[in-house]
């Protein structure tokens, strides 16, 4: 099936009443969780996962994907009106979006953010089609050593791009990989680290861990969140003026390109391109002094980049089965629960999922534009719901969502334990994304590692004698070393500063 044939096939499967309905539900919930604090797309996807068991895998994934890119749209509303990002990917939008709102320009800020998100999302879907298909074809040539090397490269990238300490990210990767070994051995079925618990015999569930690490820990972090003050000014002139367009079109196009390419990188996702886009726009601007004081370019670029990034992140997941961020790790887990194996064969074995998800993004982006422009007043009203009322509701959804997967209260205990672990780790500056990605990739990585050794009669040379595997491992090693050197440089700089201070 060629690209356009595939797209038509996808559109045909999406343009059904029930699929459109689930896509709409997904993007609406996504916008909602983007607007609301204390619950992100990961929590929402985990909670809704059990509700998808009765529908086809393609429809389920379309709905869950809608939550992801919908949240990117919703996150900007809180950044602009409350100065609190609904999502990590909207942090940068606070800088100029809130300043614009304070100057009475909340309307154009919200408008350009929705339109930019739409353009970025749509251009990114086009790019996704053209990149994912050839990449999946390359992936078909991969054997166990190549997949193992690819996962090593993913782990290196995740630790390299970690916002905090690289060393801490590496520790989290090892912790995640170890958690992934709990349960039955993927090759022999030998039970490991289950300590007599039938729940652990199947492995530590992805949903309890994800909900604990990202849902419960978030609530524990926000336990004392005070009421937020929403700008009371009337939102007028949502459609940007010609001058706004003139200033924004460049940042939107650049944001689309940056977002898509950073989205492809494991660990990149939608957050990093927003920072890159902001600094690029500031550097290119004729009036850099306006940045931070309400420059529309500072909203248009990053908001476009986060949507383009969230779409670009689907490429490695759909084409190679490698999730570049925790949200797509949940999506990969959802595919597995539905009995679908993501990776190079997805396009051949389940074209309705591969092309259905791509086609649904075109439809979903249009739905989001409609939801986010005329219905902005509704989202503002939702923003005013006090957190102390939301918190019990979010917790209840976490509890029920976790229980509903297997009707097993032990999984709630696992969720609570991971919620506390996540809270402690976050307070000490550890990132949780490497942990969850490693936990999901762990069993696949192990199976490929052991199969490679069996193939080579126990020789590690198989990883370096095959060209693709050798290249990937070389790149992984290079990244690892360069992050080590940069950490060394930073440490050295700190020491010099300290000595200097003492002198």
């Amino acid at each position: 099936m060629d690209i356009f044939g595939g797209l038509l096939f996808g559109l045909k499967s999406v343009l059904h009443v029930d699929t459109l309905f689930y896509c709409f539900v997904g993007v609406t919930i996504g916008t909602l969780v983007g607007v609301l604090p204390g619950i992100g797309p990961i929590g929402a996807m985990s909670i809704l996962l059990p509700a998808t068991f009765g529908i086809s895998p393609a429809t389920a994934i379309i709905m869950l994907a809608g939550i992801y890119y919908g949240a990117m749209y919703g996150g900007s509303t809180t950044s602009i009106l409350v100065n609190i990002p609904g999502e990590a990917a909207s942090v940068v939008t606070c800088l100029d979006g809130y300043q614009m709102a304070k100057k009475g320009r909340a309307g154009p800020a919200l408008g350009i953010s929705a339109i930019g998100s739409f353009i970025g999302g749509t251009l990114s879907v086009v790019a996704l089609m053209f990149v994912a298909v050839p990449l999946a074809n390359v992936g078909l040539r991969f054997g166990p050593p190549e997949f193992f090397a690819l996962m090593c490269l993913s782990m290196s990238l995740i630790s390299y791009l970690a916002r905090g300490s690289t060393f801490n990210a590496v520790l989290m990767i090892f912790l995640g990989l170890i958690l992934g070994t709990v349960g039955m051995d993927p090759i022999t079925g030998f039970p490991r680290f289950y300590f007599g618990s039938t729940t652990l015999l199947d492995g530590i569930g992805l949903i309890p861990v994800a909900m604990g690490l990202f849902g419960i820990s978030e609530i524990l972090m926000n336990i004392e969140l005070k009421a937020r003050s929403v700008l009371e000014a009337k939102i007028r002139n949502i459609f940007p003026t010609l001058e706004d367009w003139r200033r924004s079109i460049g940042p939107i196009l650049r944001g689309s390109v940056l977002g898509f390419f950073f989205g492809l990188l494991p660990g990149g996702g939608a957050v990093i391109p927003t920072f890159v886009s902001y600094s690029v726009e500031k550097r290119l601007s004729k009036h850099p002094e306006e940045f931070g004081k309400g420059a529309i370019e500072g909203v248009a670029g990053p908001e476009t980049a986060n949507n383009a990034g969230s779409t670009g992140a689907f490429v490695p997941m759909l084409a190679l089965g490698i999730p570049p961020n925790p949200i797509l790790a949940i999506l990969l887990g959802a595919l597995m629960i539905h009995g679908v194996q993501a990776g190079p064969l997805l396009m051949q074995k389940n074209p309705e999922i591969f092309w259905g998800v791509i086609a649904s993004m075109y439809v979903g982006n249009i739905m989001l534009l409609i939801l986010n422009l005329p219905l902005i007043g509704l989202w503002i009203r939702i923003l005013k719901i006090p957190y102390r009322l939301l918190m019990p509701l979010i917790l209840l959804f976490c509890l029920v969502g976790c229980y509903a997967v297997n009707s097993n209260p032990t999984e709630i205990v696992i969720m609570i334990v991971f919620g506390f672990i996540g809270y402690v780790l976050r307070r000490c500056g550890y990132e949780l994304a490497p942990l969850i990605i490693a936990m999901i990739l762990g069993p696949i990585m192990e199976a490929n590692f052991r199969n490679s050794l069996i193939m080579s009669d126990g020789s590690f040379r198989i990883f370096v004698t095959r060209p693709i595997s050798a290249t990937l491992l070389f790149a992984a090693g290079l990244l690892f070393l360069s992050s080590g050197f940069s950490a060394y440089r930073k440490a050295k700089k700190r020491v010099i500063e300290l000595v200097g201070d003492e002198d």
Binding site: P50, I219, I223, T410, V413, R450, L453
Partner: protein, 149 residues
């Protein structure tokens, strides 16, 4: 700093536990890797990395690094975790309606609501609405003690 140390020491202990436990599971040979090989390697690497981190923290402990963290609300944190544990333990015994109602009462209280009639009303409404919402999505809840009548 104390929590950071505790985390690294825990990881160090976990590394030791994992590599010793997986060694006993059987690491096999390189030609025929056993179920313990991969976790053995992971445990060993986690131990080595954590050890390096412990040494780094020890060296730095006299230094100037101080993380500026927000205040920790121990009481609320503890009560919230306790309420959630209560839910997990008593869900099957009490059934969805009673366990959820009681847990919500606690959580609303922890969230800052003072009036008992108000939080009882909120909890009741949420229990009823959520029951219908989730059962319509196909979730089957335990009936607990209500199932006996």
């Amino acid at each position: 700093m104390k929590t950071a140390k505790a985390i690294v020491v825990t990881l160090l202990g976990l590394g030791i536990f994992v590599f010793s436990y997986s060694y006993r599971m059987g690491i096999g040979s390189l030609k025929s890797p056993g179920p313990g090989l991969f976790p053995f390697l992971l445990g060993l690497l986690l131990f080595l990395l954590s050890f390096c981190k412990v040494v780094a923290i020890m060296k730095k402990s006299e230094g100037s690094e101080k993380r500026t963290e927000g205040p920790i609300f121990f009481e609320k944190l503890f009560l919230l975790l306790l309420s959630l544990m209560f839910y997990a333990i008593f869900l099957n015994v009490l059934g969805y309606s009673i366990a959820t109602f009681v847990t919500l009462l606690f959580i609303f209280r922890i969230a800052g609501y003072k009036s008992l009639p108000k939080i009882s009303l909120y909890s009741m409404i949420i229990v009823v609405l959520s029951y219908f919402l989730f059962t319509s999505l196909g979730v089957v809840f335990p009936r607990g003690i209500l199932g006996r009548f």
